[in-house]
Amino acid sequence: MKQGELVWLWMALVILGAVTVLAYRSIDSAADTLGWVEHTGKVLQQISEVTAAYSRAVTARRAYVVAGDDSQLADVRDLDERLGRAIGAERASLADNPSQLRSLEAMSRLLEERLSSLDASVAQRRREGVGVETAEGFALTAQIRTIREKMEGEENRLLAERDALTRRDMARTKFAEIIGTLASFAILLFAFNRLRREIARRQQTEQALVASQSFLDSIVENIPNMIFVKEAGELRFERINRAGEQLLGVKRADLVRKNDFDLFPREQAEFFQERDRETLNNKIPVDIAEEPIKTARGERWLHTKKVPVLDAEGVPKYLLGISEDITEQRQAAEALKSAKDAAEAANHELEAFSYSVAHDLRAPLRGINGYSVALVEDIGDKLDGEAKDYLQRIGAGATRMGQLIDALLGLSRVSRADLVREPVNVTEMASSVVAQLRMSDVARVVDFVVADGLRAQGDPLLLRALLENLLGNAWKFTSKLERARIEVGRTEYEGALAYFVRDNGAGFDMEYAGKLFAPFQRLHKPTEFSGTGIGLATVQRIVWRHGGKVWAEGHVGRGATFHFTVDDARSAQGVDHGQ
């Protein structure tokens, strides 16, 4: 209970208590005074009784004294005793009132005196035949009357006084009752009002609670992953959401209050509960990347997170579980893995094949070439020009086939080699290739223009092979010019950085641009320009391995430009405009 409410309760109790005490005391006091009123009445009656008894006692004696009637004398003794009893009773009643008691005692003495005087008159009559009432006797009677009247007066005064007191007490009681009733009403009204407001407030809170509860419920219900709650003791299911029902193929009514052993094969149930205990004992969430579970729809795979739910004292109360059905992902991953395995196996086969090409195909070529050369050497002077030429062609054919095999192996090496991305200074690399080309034919006049600050993120060995091929082509296809110009630079392509190698050489017909990058495709006759037809295929493969694009533009007799990207966000950042 709140402090304020406690104060109110105490106040109400104090008010009601005070009113009760007040009323009780008024009633008590009224009852008291009422007793006294009654007592006074009794005293008054006793006075009458004393008066009556005295009158009888006097009358019996006087009848003899005055009229000689002795009929009543026999009763005198009884009458005197009656008077004595009446006086005794009155004395008892007046024990609390000393002044009245004194009056009574005075009256009692006077009564005795009056009766003694009459007794003397009675004796006189008997003796002398005539009795005399003395004046003294009358005076006593008058005194007795005075005292009696005084006592009666006193008692009547007391009666009036006590009556007034009673009325006052009654009025007080009535007042207390009214006040009490009013206070009770007020407190009742106040309490009722407060109660009503409290009830309204609680109803509101309850409604809000119900609303928020149903909101939470509907969220839990609609989450597309299985959500379940187990109690921490026996790990029985307390709750499960719709996705859980669908996943397990079990209605929640058939699942609640059951544990894993009721629902799943022993081995799985043991695994689940082991993880549950681990979560609850360590009080930390546990992540199970993959776990199999037997459901009505067959075996599924779950990725489950288990979370301990602690009470206010930090004792695990519930286990919350969230499971994602990863069966399809897992199947996809497995399919991917087997595809990868197959690809790796194929790659392995390719490697074995390449090796055998390298080793086994070259050996017979050496034989063909070697023996044809040996024939020319040994019996060349015995052969005519035509036969010698044929032998030389046999040797040259074998040599060319060797070159083609080497080129093909080079291409396959480009495909197989591991790709390492690191910062490459393209400007420096191109310049080094250019220097190599110049050394191969120092007589040629070629203007090389290599842009400054070309940088890329790529495999240095592969990028060098790429530049060697492109610059080598440019060098080759400008060989018939007196003054060639070969340019290496960068440009922008679809928001990304692209590099280019441009020459003013033989060029090509754009109609055949699609054939440029295919292996062994050549757009020029071997008599014009030598080559294996593998160079651009190698370039394309290197670019593809970097995730980039390569394309060419050209016109017959007016040169060609080869563009390529190594399509990586980091390569764009690698451009240093400051240099």
């Binding site: 040996a374 040797g395 060797g402």
Partner: protein, 151 residues
Amino acid sequence: MASNKVILLVEDNYDDEVLTLRALKKSHIANEVVVAHDGVEALDYIFGTGVHAGRDVTIQPQVVLLDLNLPRIGGLEVLKRLRAVERTRFLPVVVLTSSKEDEDMMKSYANGANAYVSKPVEFDAFSEAVKTLGLFWLLLNEIAPPPRRPL
């Protein structure tokens, strides 16, 4: 040329054997050439076992020209076994093969080959290579003496 020095040619391909011998002859290298046609024969010759049992193994070839792809015991295995034995640990071995694979080259050097030569298809280039090899290994190179301690 010092004709007492033997060359051991380990070669399974007949054409290559003929052409190598021709190239040596053309280069005027008149040394005795012992030809082993697989790894087992090569090891038998060097260690004086099998078909070469009883050979004086204190006389060892001046150079071994070793192909990699051999029947029975491969070239790399031959190389490993030579390097594992004290007496042949420093025997000059030149790997002479068709292979241009980086991996073959790396493995050969890793197992203690003294040189790695890829056989060119063109005979002129091939005979040039053989000539250079002969000059270097038979004339210029001083080989480590075999240990005096008997096995």
